[in-house]
């Protein structure tokens, strides 16, 4: 891996340079030209070019991450819903021009086509200069020398086998230096890209505020809906049963002397009612905050879930302590929902649940051996989970190729409160 990484970086440098030179340069020129000509062609085409620039920049962000491990976030303002006709054209134009990120992108195109491309070329050329020296030493120096001249390999004038050997030796030095240099140059190039393509501090905060506003309103909606559900359950369930019990007791009081037999029957009914009310309350409590969760924490609560699941479920938990109560609850209900989904839709027989705490994050991975093909937007409740986790800055990733397996991964940043027992 370490040995393979350096030559790979050199090749990637060449690829980047070949990509950056024509594409970045062309897009840069288009951007500038269509902005300059404005009316009427620029009005129509500038936003199109900018859309192209953004998808190209997006691809380069992903490349920077997969190739060099440099993560770059998107800085753009959310795209509005455009109207039709002439007003739509103006709207698009404004959307493209008014976003400062557009101009940072254009600046980046220029820098990438120049500095970026040069860095990439150097990363490729320096290590490759070594093999050229070896080729000379292998005999190629002779035809060059004979056709008049002789080649300069840096400071060595190659005129005979001896000087060609020296060139080959120097070539080794070049290759070593180049291989050492290539990954560093490309990392520098990626950092340059990040400097221009990543959101500025101000924009990052703006995006964060937008995200918080949205997730807060989601959280409030969910909470309100939950309270309504609890109210309805109590009203139609336990409360109604208590009323019925009170009425039965009143009737019993009345009947006690006159018809003891009937009173006894009513008493049995009242007891039945009270036990049903308790069952309903118990189910309600389980839905609000499961008792095992309160008593034992996430690990055992999920184990209890697994025991109740009709699927063959394996649970492994590595938590060094208790989590904050709201996170614990969100994680529990997320696992519960995913398990229910698996039992209902996936056709799975086995499920594996893995829960661990690493780098200040709670990580939950749920895998089943079902037929896959689950779709987060298909109303499977995953959207709801995602929103719920969003309140805690948590994320959900779904991988479910047709034919299975389905894997749901959830991550929640959180802190541990108390050590578990």
């Amino acid at each position: 891996m370490r040995i393979g990484a350096a030559p790979l970086a050199a090749v990637r440098g060449l690829a980047l340079a070949l990509l950056a030179l024509p594409v970045s340069l062309a897009l840069f020129i288009f951007s500038v030209v269509f902005f300059a000509v404005t009316f009427p062609i620029g009005f129509l085409l500038f936003p199109v070019v900018i859309a192209g620039v953004r998808s190209y920049a997006g691809a380069r962000r992903r490349l920077a991450y997969t190739w060099f491990g440099v993560e770059i976030k998107e800085p753009y303002k959310p795209r509005p819903r455009f109207r039709r006709g002439l007003r739509g054209v103006f709207q698009r134009y404004r959307w493209a021009v008014a976003d400062p990120a557009t101009w940072r992108d254009v600046l980046w195109l220029f820098v990438d086509a120049t500095v970026g491309a040069v860095l990439g070329l150097v990363a490729f050329a320096v290590p490759m200069y070594g093999p050229y020296g070896w080729v000379l030493a292998a005999g190629v120096w002779k035809p060059i020398f004979e056709s008049g001249g002789g080649d300069w390999y840096t400071f060595i004038h190659v005129v005979d086998q001896n000087s060609a050997d020296n060139a080959a030796l120097l070539g080794v030095v070049y290759t070593l230096i180049g291989l050492w240099l290539a990954p560093r140059l490309l990392r520098a190039s990626s950092l340059l890209t990040r400097g221009l393509l990543a959101p500025t501090r101000e924009r990052e905060l703006e995006l964060r505020v937008a995200h918080l506003t949205e997730s807060r309103s989601d959280a409030l909606d969910t909470q309100a809906a939950e309270l309504r559900r609890i109210e309805r359950d109590l009203h139609d369930g336990a409360q109604a049963r208590l009323v019925a019990m009170g009425m039965s007791l009143g009737a019993i009081e009345h009947l006690m002397d006159r018809d003891p037999e009937k009173a006894r029957r009513l008493l049995a009914e009242a007891r039945e009612s009270s036990s049903k009310a308790l069952t309903e309350l118990r189910d309600l409590v389980r839905g609000i905050h499961p008792p095992v969760l309160a008593e034992r924490g996430l690990g055992d609560a999920v184990r209890a879930l697994a025991m109740a699941s009709p699927l063959n479920t394996e649970v492994s938990v590595e938590l060094p302590g208790r989590l904050e109560a709201p996170v614990e609850s969100a994680a529990y209900f997320a696992v519960s929902e995913v398990l229910t989904n698996a039992a209902k839709h996936s056709g799975a027989r086995r499920v594996w649940i893995d829960i661990r705490y690493e780098d200040d994050r709670l990580r939950l991975v749920i895998t089943d051996d079902g037929h896959g093909g689950a779709d987060a937007s298909g109303g499977t409740g995953l959207l709801g989970i995602e929103r719920r986790l969003g309140t805690f800055d948590g994320v959900l990733a779904l991988s479910s190729p047709v034919g299975g397996p389905t894997m749901v991964t959830m991550e929640l940043p959180c802190v541990l409160t108390a050590p578990g027992h």
Binding site: R271, S274, S275, L278, T279, R282, V285, R286, P291, V292, A294, E295, R296, D300, R303, A304, M307, A308, P310, H421
Partner: protein, 215 residues
């Protein structure tokens, strides 16, 4: 029979004391928190303990933990655990040492005083008393498994009652059949489930519970 009682809600504690005393039990200690329960169990070593799962000061499963701890110190110490909800996980932990003398019931079961007291006596005598909900959850989980599918409906009924910890006599009364019929059903069940037959009621129940919990 000396009882240690642990329940943090005053009304329930009071009700349980009166109920048990009415049936001739002697309340050796009635406590309302975990640490005191542990102390009472280890010093008094009662004939049976009736314990609420959730107790102060932490309001987690302190009652259960105290009971499990005491049973490790005093093997076979009879404990009947009461709770607002039943969890298979807790049932498994209580049964884990395989020595009997445990019970795990919903608090609602106290409503039927005769049945409840019967359960307390059973546990005190080294038997078991598992809540019907625990058993039905266990059976539901095993429903798809091979040997259980082979039982007749009647045998399933018998199995359920047996798993709750009831004796042949009690099962016969409940199902309105003769004790001999019950004995025949039980031997059929043990044959179908491949369990070694046993005349000892308690050992029989533990074998069945272990079987159900295995899968």
């Amino acid at each position: 029979m000396r009882v240690v009682l642990a329940e943090d809600l005053f009304l329930l504690r009071d009700g349980l004391i009166r109920l048990l005393e009415a049936y001739g039990f002697e309340i050796a200690a009635a406590v309302d928190n975990g640490p005191e329960l542990t102390r009472a169990l280890l010093t008094i070593k009662p004939d049976v303990a009736v314990v609420d799962v959730r107790l102060p000061p932490s309001f987690t499963d302190e009652g259960l933990q105290a009971a499990l701890h005491a049973r490790r110190e005093v093997p076979g110490l009879p404990v009947l655990v009461l709770s607002q909800h039943v969890e298979q996980l807790y049932a498994r932990e209580l049964l884990a040492d395989g020595s009997g003398g445990v019970g795990y019931l919903l608090k609602d079961r106290v409503f039927d005083a005769d049945q409840f007291v019967d359960a307390v006596r059973r546990v005190a005598g080294g038997g078991t008393a598992m809540d019907p909900q625990v058993i039905s959850q266990l059976l539901a989980r095993n429903a798809r498994n091979e040997p259980l599918g082979g039982l007749t409906p009647r045998e399933r009924e018998v199995l359920e009652l047996m798993a709750e910890g009831r004796s042949n006599t009690a099962i016969a009364q409940r199902l309105v059949i003769t004790e001999r019929a019950v004995a025949k059903h039980t031997s059929n069940i043990f044959g179908k489930l491949n369990l070694p037959p046993s005349d000892d009621d308690n050992r029989r129940v533990l074998a069945v519970l272990a079987f159900l919990d295995r899968s």
